[in-house]
């Protein structure tokens, strides 16, 4: 038993040291990387890591929302990837409030009359026959 331990201990130490090496090496490699243009543009340089995590979460959130809105799963990845970080955050935070260009109006009669008048006054542009 004692012999086994004597044999195992150096092995374990070696394994642990080797295992922790990449972690020790990480700051070194990060230091030799260039600063990316987007990182320099984001003023909050010191909170880069936290911002990065937030952006990853925002993208995940947008992915879920797009699926819920009926976007096909094959398309979702490409659509999320094309968004900038700021756009992904905006989508994650307020997709339901963003105007969706669609150009169809509700058919309420009162609304119809009001919009008809504003159309004639040149304020709105709903009914082509007013021109």
């Amino acid at each position: 038993m004692k012999r086994l331990r004597r044999l195992l201990t150096p092995l374990l130490i070696a394994a642990l040291v080797l295992g922790s090496l990449p972690a020790m090496a990480t700051p070194g490699t990060a230091l030799s990387d260039l600063i990316a243009t987007t990182a320099a543009l984001d003023a909050q340089g010191a909170q880069r890591d936290r911002a990065k995590i937030r952006d990853i979460l925002a993208r995940e959130d947008v992915r879920q929302q797009l699926l819920l809105q009926g976007v096909s799963p094959r398309q979702v990845e490409d659509r999320v990837a094309a968004l900038s970080d700021a756009e992904a955050r905006e989508m994650a935070e307020r997709l339901d409030q963003l105007p969706a260009g669609a150009s169809v109006v509700g058919a309420l009669f009162a609304v119809f009359v009001i919009l008809l008048v504003t159309d004639i006054l040149g304020l709105t542009d709903v009914y082509p026959f007013t021109r």
Partner: protein, 322 residues
């Protein structure tokens, strides 16, 4: 008795309401006057512009987003159909397309999406430069919004009309006043989609971010012409030179990257990231004295990069000692 009074009282209220309604409408009508153009801007712009090479695509129900995008992308030389764009930008749950995804889809097709400032002159300036402009309008009123994307393709200053490819109508002429009212209700949101070597004519205010976002999706090789164009137009713009340096480095032009970072530090000696990247490249090339000088400059600038600069200098010092 009371029953006999009620209708007449209601009638009085209705009569009283009419002047109020009229007053409200006149107030609103005040907002619909044609946007004011300064005489100087008016003189700088051509009298009439019509971009005849912008193709028209009629929208199918709800799909003015994909249709407008197809027009703008094709005008910039990208061969992409409305049918390709619908699954890329249309949101079935919202029965429409949202602004961030409009810009993102432009990027996916290899063009840079530049947002325009919400000024009528910016819109006209882009048209005069030959760039069709995608606009977001609220065609109805804030209470019952009718969001709509269209493509502006021309204007006539003396006739005070804007020409739009919109909905099912190609080349529709809309009075400046009416257009500006509907555009203002969409927060005067507009963008141009341009190939990487071309820049918007109206302003370069958002260009840095637009190109950096494009580069994140399409890569540095595709973005390089955009950085080059921006630094040609703004040779003293340190952040543009910084972006050029990174794009050159990513495409293997190390010497060119060093030149760009050097120029960035000359344009703005307080731009710590430029000193850091300059030092890093000097260090990799073996010019340790140059590297140390650059890191020291970066370490002397207070701000988010100071710690990193000190670490880099320290690491370099141990390297020199060893």
């Amino acid at each position: 008795m009371t029953g006999a009074f009620r209708p007449s009282r209601r009638k009085n209220a209705r009569i009283a309401g009419v002047p109020v309604l009229v007053a409200c409408l006149f107030l609103l009508a005040g907002c619909a006057s044609a946007p004011h153009l300064a005489p100087a801007t008016r003189q700088a712009l051509p009298e009439r512009v019509q971009l005849d090479d912008v193709p028209f695509h009629g929208q199918r129900d709800y799909q003015c987003g994909p249709a407008s995008l197809a027009m703008a992308l094709q005008a910039a030389g990208r061969d992409v159909s409305v049918d390709t764009l619908i699954p890329q930008v249309f949101l079935p749950g919202r029965e429409g397309s949202v602004q961030p995804e409009m810009l993102a889809t432009v990027r996916r097709h290899g063009l840079v999406a530049y947002r325009l400032p919400g000024r009528f002159t910016a819109l006209l300036t882009e048209l005069a430069a030959g760039h069709p402009v995608v606009v977001l309008q609220n065609l109805a009123l804030p209470a019952w919004p009718l969001w709509h994307y269209a493509v502006a393709i021309g204007y006539d200053l003396s006739g005070e009309t804007l020409t739009l490819h919109t909905g099912m109508t190609p080349e529709r002429e809309v009075a400046f006043g009416r257009f500006d009212a509907t555009w203002a209700r969409g927060d005067r949101w507009a963008f141009v989609a341009l190939p990487p070597g071309e820049l918007p004519a109206a302003t370069l205010a958002g260009a840095l971010r637009a190109i950096a976002d494009f580069e994140a999706v399409q890569g540095s090789r595709a973005a390089l012409p955009a950085w080059r164009a921006l630094t040609d137009r703004q040779p003293e713009w340190a952040m543009a030179l910084f972006g050029l340096g990174n794009a050159r480095h990513a495409t293997g032009d190390i010497a060119g990257a060093r030149v760009a970072f050097r120029r960035a530090t000359e344009a703005d000696p307080e731009l710590a990231p430029a000193w850091l990247n300059l030092g890093q490249l000097a260090r990799q090339a073996g010019d340790l004295a140059d590297a140390r000088r650059a890191f020291s400059r970066a370490a002397a600038i207070p701000g988010p990069w100071q710690d990193r600069a000190r670490d880099a200098r320290e690491a370099l010092d141990t390297e020199i000692d060893a």
